[in-house]
Amino acid sequence: MTDKPFDPVAAWADMVQKWEHEINSWSTKLTDNEQFGAVLGQATKVQLVAQRAFGEHMETLLRNLNLPSKPQIDQIGERLGAIEDSIDRLRLAIEALAGKAAPKADATPEPRRTRKPA
């Protein structure tokens, strides 16, 4: 006998947790054989081949429509990323040089490195 009154929300949460556990255990059993690895390996290959074929088809279509393809957009994104990286590096280099030449007056002083455990 328990003192707890019936709580429908707690019962629901409990049920979800049990369901989650059961599905996950079932998945662990299902995946625990060599056949599973074989199917998965094959599926990855098929997916890559299909992706490539679809990508090529789309690229032709988009070229005919005079629109940029995803790889072209990705390329622009990567170039922008590379430019941002270069700016970051330049900023860091300039800051390092400026810091060496004349330390900033308003720079926060470094804390003392003398702390000991309590």
């Binding site: 996950n24 690895g37 390996g41 590096r89 926060t108 470094e110 804390p111 702390r115």
Partner: protein, 359 residues
């Protein structure tokens, strides 16, 4: 029998509470669906070094007196480092800064196609040592406590094995796989007989996160749906929703990884389990775990479905360190580095261990 008899007043109270929660669920549910990306990050930080896909951040110290030895936390290459600094009260970085540590985080930008060639050697022979050199420049200290989470821990371990005596004073490993043969589901997923890693890498260059997320979903297929159901149940609870959104954002922002790194991870670590057998060759040298003699704190989550205790424990037995301590704590893979329970239970233990080794 089993339910307590309730008075009329109790029943009315409970009905009121449930109706209130149901209303809040609907209102907040709408807010949730229309909300912008969850804000993350509790502490101020500065980018202090940038190289390839590597970004070194320094968190601004918040106390006047800090420990001598700085702490460098290496993020796993497939995940963003803000998991260490989710939000005030749930941030490991915040906790460590307040206890006087000088915290740096080696984080990763998504690799570009022209960075697909980056391999293990770039991570352990270049990005980590260059970050340590930059930390030495900033702090004037050559010693550093090297910490890593998940594969970030594996990279830290490989670095420490290859560069023994070169500045690593302590090693802290969070959910770090060392023995890859025990990672059963990943072994099935990347089964040598059926998984053509060369084809995948050669075709894709940079490995998209979906490829890796598929393996995680297979290991726990119900988690995503159950998470949504738990969210709906707790939609009235602002703290729960905030936390859910931050973790959800982090999981959704899994990073792509360079193809070469992925190839080496699969061939050398998953297939050959080379780190455990002391035959992991990186940049022409063998990473010998026995060469690691610095103090090690190995932290393992009891219910970690990604990195099990068997996968992480060999850091205690195969290294040459005589000052090893292991903490096995309740919770899952992520709960070691984020969340309120780690704040209460785990991080104070880390502080206790690290403080006396950081002077």
């Amino acid at each position: 029998m089993g339910e307590q008899q309730l008075s009329g007043e109790d029943v009315a109270d409970r009905v009121r509470r449930e109706v209130d929660r149901a209303l809040k669920r609907n209102i907040k549910g709408l807010e949730f669906l229309t909300a912008a990306r969850a804000e993350v990050g509790a502490m101020a930080k500065d980018l202090v070094h940038r190289e390839g896909t590597a970004m070194l951040w320094r968190y601004r110290p918040v106390v006047d007196e800090i420990y001598r030895v700085p702490l460098l936390i290496v993020s796993p290459p497939s995940n963003k480092g803000y998991i260490f600094d989710l939000a005030p009260g749930q941030s490991m970085v915040e906790y460590l800064l307040e206890r006087g540590y000088d915290v740096f985080n080696l984080d990763w930008a998504p690799p570009r196609q022209d960075e697909a060639h980056l391999g293990l050697s770039d991570y352990v022979d270049r990005f980590i040592p260059d970050s340590m050199a930059r930390i030495a420049e900033i702090t004037g200290e050559r010693d550093v406590t090297l910490a890593g989470y998940c594969m970030g821990g594996t990279l830290a371990t490989i670095h420490a094995a290859l560069h023994a005596g070169n500045g690593v004073k302590n090693l802290i490993l969070f959910a770090t796989p060392i023995d890859f043969s025990t990672m059963k589901l990943f072994q099935k997923w990347a089964d040598k007989r059926h998984f053509d890693v060369d084809m995948v890498v050669d075709r894709l260059g940079v490995i998209p996160p979906e490829l890796m997320l598929g393996a995680f979903d297979l290991s726990r297929p119900a988690n995503r749906t159950a998470g949504r159901l738990h969210l709906w149940t707790n939609m009235w609870n602002d703290e729960f929703v905030k936390s859910y959104r931050m973790f959800d954002r982090w999981a959704a922002e899994t990073l792509p990884v360079p193809g070469e790194y992925f190839r080496e991870q699969i061939k050398k670590l998953m297939w050959d389990n080379a780190l455990v057998h002391n035959r992991l060759e990186v940049g022409g040298r063998v990473a010998d775990l026995g060469a690691i003699t610095v103090p090690i704190l190995n932290i393992i989550a009891l219910h970690d479905h990604i990195v099990s205790e068997e996968a992480a424990h060999p850091a205690m037995t195969l290294t040459g360190s005589t000052d090893c301590e292991e903490i096995i704590t309740k919770g899952g893979h992520v709960s070691l580095v984020a969340g309120p329970s780690a704040l209460r239970r785990l991080w104070p233990l880390i502080d206790g261990w690290l403080g006396k080794r950081s002077v």
